[in-house]
Symmetry: C2
Subunit: 347 residues, 2 copies
Amino acid sequence: MVAVAGGLPIAVDAMGGDRAPAEVVAGAFRAVEELGIPVLLVGEPEYLAGLGNRPGVDFEAASEAVAMDEDPGKAVRQKRDSSLVRCAVAVREGRASAMVSAGNTGAAMASAVLRMGRLPGVLRPAIATPIPVPGSTPTVLIDAGANVDCSPAMLVQFAQMGSALAVERFGIEEPRVGLLSIGEEATKGNALVKEAHSLLAAGTAGPQVCFIGNVEGRDVMSDRVDVVVTDGYTGNVVLKTLEGGVKAVVGGVLGALTSTEEAKEAAKTAMPALMPLAEALDPDTTGGAVLLGVNGVCVISHGSSGAKAIVNAIRVAHHAVSEGLVARVEAVIGAQPAPGAAEHPKR
Amino acid sequence: MVAVAGGLPIAVDAMGGDRAPAEVVAGAFRAVEELGIPVLLVGEPEYLAGLGNRPGVDFEAASEAVAMDEDPGKAVRQKRDSSLVRCAVAVREGRASAMVSAGNTGAAMASAVLRMGRLPGVLRPAIATPIPVPGSTPTVLIDAGANVDCSPAMLVQFAQMGSALAVERFGIEEPRVGLLSIGEEATKGNALVKEAHSLLAAGTAGPQVCFIGNVEGRDVMSDRVDVVVTDGYTGNVVLKTLEGGVKAVVGGVLGALTSTEEAKEAAKTAMPALMPLAEALDPDTTGGAVLLGVNGVCVISHGSSGAKAIVNAIRVAHHAVSEGLVARVEAVIGAQPAPGAAEHPKR
């Protein structure tokens, strides 16, 4: 057990996720014990009371919980005393330094946007998800699903915010930012991509953003690019396509390695060599997505998060706070006001 | 060597692809020898003259070739005697039953559309690409890149055409057709997807299309769905994302299995079990994409096609001809005219 650091705790939504509250609480306890990061567990008072007192763990009661399939906007408006909303309020009121939730993604986003507020000049907050790249730092995919219909100006801001995250989280000095398209030439892509390309190529994102041009789907899981910019529809499709593809291939390999007695024996021998890859590809290791553009740190872990995923999400949130992620995003957006900031996407 | 079948040959673009003409010609010869499918090799006369006479192989001279990075529209308009254009003309004029090219995809499409023509009622031809699914039939992804900006009515036709292909190519009696989105609910997706969902849910694609609702990226490489409908921008991103993802994972596994002496030994033992998976994931096995909606069979193999990919592309083209793919597409489109057929996408 390491010493618990001083400072504000990370607010953890104890009721959010398919395996909440047990796995979430187990993860929060591990973050305190193994990383020395203080936490504020937010959830049903009866459940929390049963956990007993521990150093580094504070509790906050929330009488409601948002279900995984609830309508996000409605849930956040109506369940003002839900654990999710309470986490965001704790950050806004200065009782926590960041929030972590494995619950309803849309509701987590809405809570953060409504309770913490947008940073000045931000058109739309966006979800940045790290995609594991075997043998290299992860690629930041932004927007991974917050905004399904986007304007070119929004994509320029995603480039700015994603770049700030790659610097903070992965220590990349000058992250290479690529625009997701279907060919490297500036003329390739749909109408949105072509307009965004013009803006980015003209330097609209500012000198802090190193725009390397269009990238393709095959570059996402490679070391060719550090930040991949796209609209939230395409980004979410890419994220889930990779999830499915990796699962199919890994499942195929495991199936093959258990299909014969010889293969099973061989697999036992090869396992130590395969473990680092399995670890690198495990989304629980990466530590969750971040909502960028809001006035606070909000880390969203996937719905099926177990204790390990929660530990890593808390670690990521703590790092974002200590490395000043919000100030970095504010600075990069503030330095270069959005082109046609009034331009909003058609709905 | 099997007997060469009678009937029209398959026109093969001998000059198309990164490894043309040598690998393309080798593949065409193998198709004749191993499958008994006659071919019409179209390419530079000097090169073809040097190949000598063989049963089942005809030649047609084309004085030009379209480069892989040439502008498709311009190339097809200006290079009327290119091997690619000549292949399409051979199909139109009844000297070949289908065309196969591993060359410039855009130019292959443009040649087919301009020389073979669209089928009646088709708004826009689309590329259908089979995605390998370990342990199951491939999933048809349509549109995989022909039309970057699409209207909802176009997506309805992609559902119709993709369904016809799944029946013909994979013998699936009632293919399950899904619309690619970011959630299963009808309310999820961008504006295009939501409108297309309404049309498909209302049965606009006709009784032959079994619409199962929205599917997500993770379903593409699974056996949950047989045909995945999307616009050409998203489809191309999905295709290349999967390519990159599969490559990263397979590369990671191979890297791990050669990282230590123990792992290398184990890998040798496990290899026979792993081979069927490697074979299933190899795009050369699947046999190439098909351009649907034109008045002829046009199979597009990937640019780096070797002989094996060409053999399979010719096999796929031959199957499409003998199973009446074009008539099937014509029937499914004709049975259910496009909703708002005048509606064209904004450019």
